[in-house]
């Protein structure tokens, strides 16, 4: 069964491309959301295995979405990874770094990094 990935970022062109690149691997079913405020509702419906979460979004930011995920019993098995433009690439491993107990990936990110990160968290 394909792993379910939700990508939350306010840049529609970015989420569209991430979806295209991930789905092309044949391993993932990807859904995207461009509004932080709607992310949690989409997640409850879609029940993703993993969420890529942009930190800086207008309205509800990634950190607030993460807090809601943590509190939601329906999403207790859902993992999430922050995508951010503020962390330098050099400050993070190619498959993300733990900062304050959370995994961060630095933009711009490559498709192979996304795949490696997913596999690191969910297994191959």
């Amino acid at each position: 069964m394909k792993k379910k990935i939700l990508v939350v970022d306010d840049e529609a062109s970015l989420t569209r491309l991430i979806k295209a690149n991930l789905e092309r691997t044949g391993k993932y079913e990807v859904m995207t959301e461009n509004q932080g405020g709607k992310a949690i509702e989409v997640a409850r419906q879609f029940k993703p295995d993993l969420i890529f979460l942009d930190v800086m979004m207008p309205g509800m930011g990634g950190d607030e979405v993460a807090a809601l995920i943590e509190e939601d019993p329906q999403l207790s098995n859902t993992k999430y990874v922050f995508l951010t433009a503020i962390v330098r690439r050099e400050e993070t491993d190619p498959t993300g770094s733990m900062i304050g107990g959370h995994l961060f990936l630095a933009k711009p990110v490559r498709t192979e990094q996304l795949v490696a990160t997913i596999e690191k968290i969910l297994g191959p």
Partner: protein, 549 residues
Amino acid sequence: MISTLYFGMVSGAESGFRALLNPGEIAWLNAHPVIRFTGDPDYAPVEFTDAQGQYRGMGSDYLGLVAARLGIRFEKVAVNSFYEALKQVRDGQADLLPVVAETQQRNQYLLFTAPYLRFPAVVITARQDVENWSLEALRTMKIAVVHGYNWEDWLTHEYPDVDLVQAPDIQTALMSTSFGLADVMIGDIATTTYFIGKTNIANLRVVHQLEQNLKISMAVRSDLPTLRSLLDKSLANISEEEKRAIGKTWIRLEPPAWWKNPTFQRVAWFVSGALGFVILATLTWNRALARKVRYRTLALEEAHQRLIQSAKLESVGRLAAGVAHEVKNPLAILQMGVDYLSADIAKESDAGLVIRDMEDAIHRADVIIKGLLDFSRDKNLAMRKTDINEVLRDSLKLVNYEMNHHNIIVEEALSLELPAINADPDKLKQVFINLFMNAIQAMGRDGKLMVASESRRLKKEAGKGANATGKFGPGDRVIVIKVEDTGPGIDPAKVGQVFDPFFTTKPVGQGTGLGLSVSRTIVELHGGVISLRNRDGGGASVVLMFKIA
């Protein structure tokens, strides 16, 4: 042969005891008023010669009781070792050994009384890695024994293949064991523990009590059977009370009371002490660990909070962070787009090359952003007492590989009397590394990097040089650091621009043009100044100055 008169004429022989003797024995006694004895000078507390040359110990006390009963005199034949004592008796130079254990060999030239003392044999070792100390296990080990002692006879007889380390005396045997020349020593509990206590050999312990007992008898030359029966009768006549008194004087001999054995007690104290220490250390360590985990968690939480804070645009004032965000998102889109397209395009095709150029451009833009973020990064300094020379050396270490790679020699002239100043060593390291890397890149191959430090008092005449910056006053004490290279130097027309952001002399893609700009920011945050000029002999010279508080 020097003979020491041992007991004076013992008078008042117990009349009751005389009645036990037969006429032959009484006749023998009358014919032999003086008996020559000899013994181990170094077998305390059983028998030994004290500092005054007197025969002492349990054997001596028993001999005294025997002398009182028989009404005869004993004279000591002095020897240097027990082995020699045996030889004296065998050669007819002495008649009696008051303290001796019966062995097969000795039976050939000695007549033994019934044993009057019994000591269990013990195994003594310094080794910690063995648990089985049975005789079977001992057979594969090096065993130290005192040469001539019964244990040697017994071991050679029972286990002819055993590896014996013969020592001239107990002390040597114990030392050999302590130093590992022998795995174990076998001896009786009385004398070995006595010597361990006396010599304070800390690493030895009694690990096993053998079933074998050391049975101490008196023995006479084989041509003196009457003396032997006289001794037997005398020893049998010694009361339990007298025996206890002697035992009390010299040793605690109750074998079950091994816990009273001073060696055991020392070992026990040591072991319980060590155990206590281990437990304490473990507890302390656990607590330290828990504290560390708590601290780290807090630190991470804090980092997270900071990150989220900046991410939530509370750092709007931080232009660079904003720019980074604005630029990195489009870069992320470009990167994803490149990934998307490259899947459909052959790498070696023209379109494939275009894709690669685009990827390179994304990377280059990302590097610029990295520089910007460096520039805008937290301006709080972690100030502490800092040895600038140490920071310089640490920084040099970090670029050591580059230096070697470019065949660049480093010339250090660091003042030995540099006072520590309040600074953020990590930030300064960033500055120095930046300067060193610039120098390396300017020189290319084969050059010399000169790094100097000194402390100096600024001259009274203000208005010139460093004083012109307004940061230092005349008479101020400062640390001056000079970083010079033998490269081409800076175009004189551009010297004034080197600290401006995005100024670079490097080919496109090789530098962000932010290094010196960032460096100046850091130096100024320290209240210092940084300046660059071309050296007279060619090359660039960067001078940094920090005030000594």
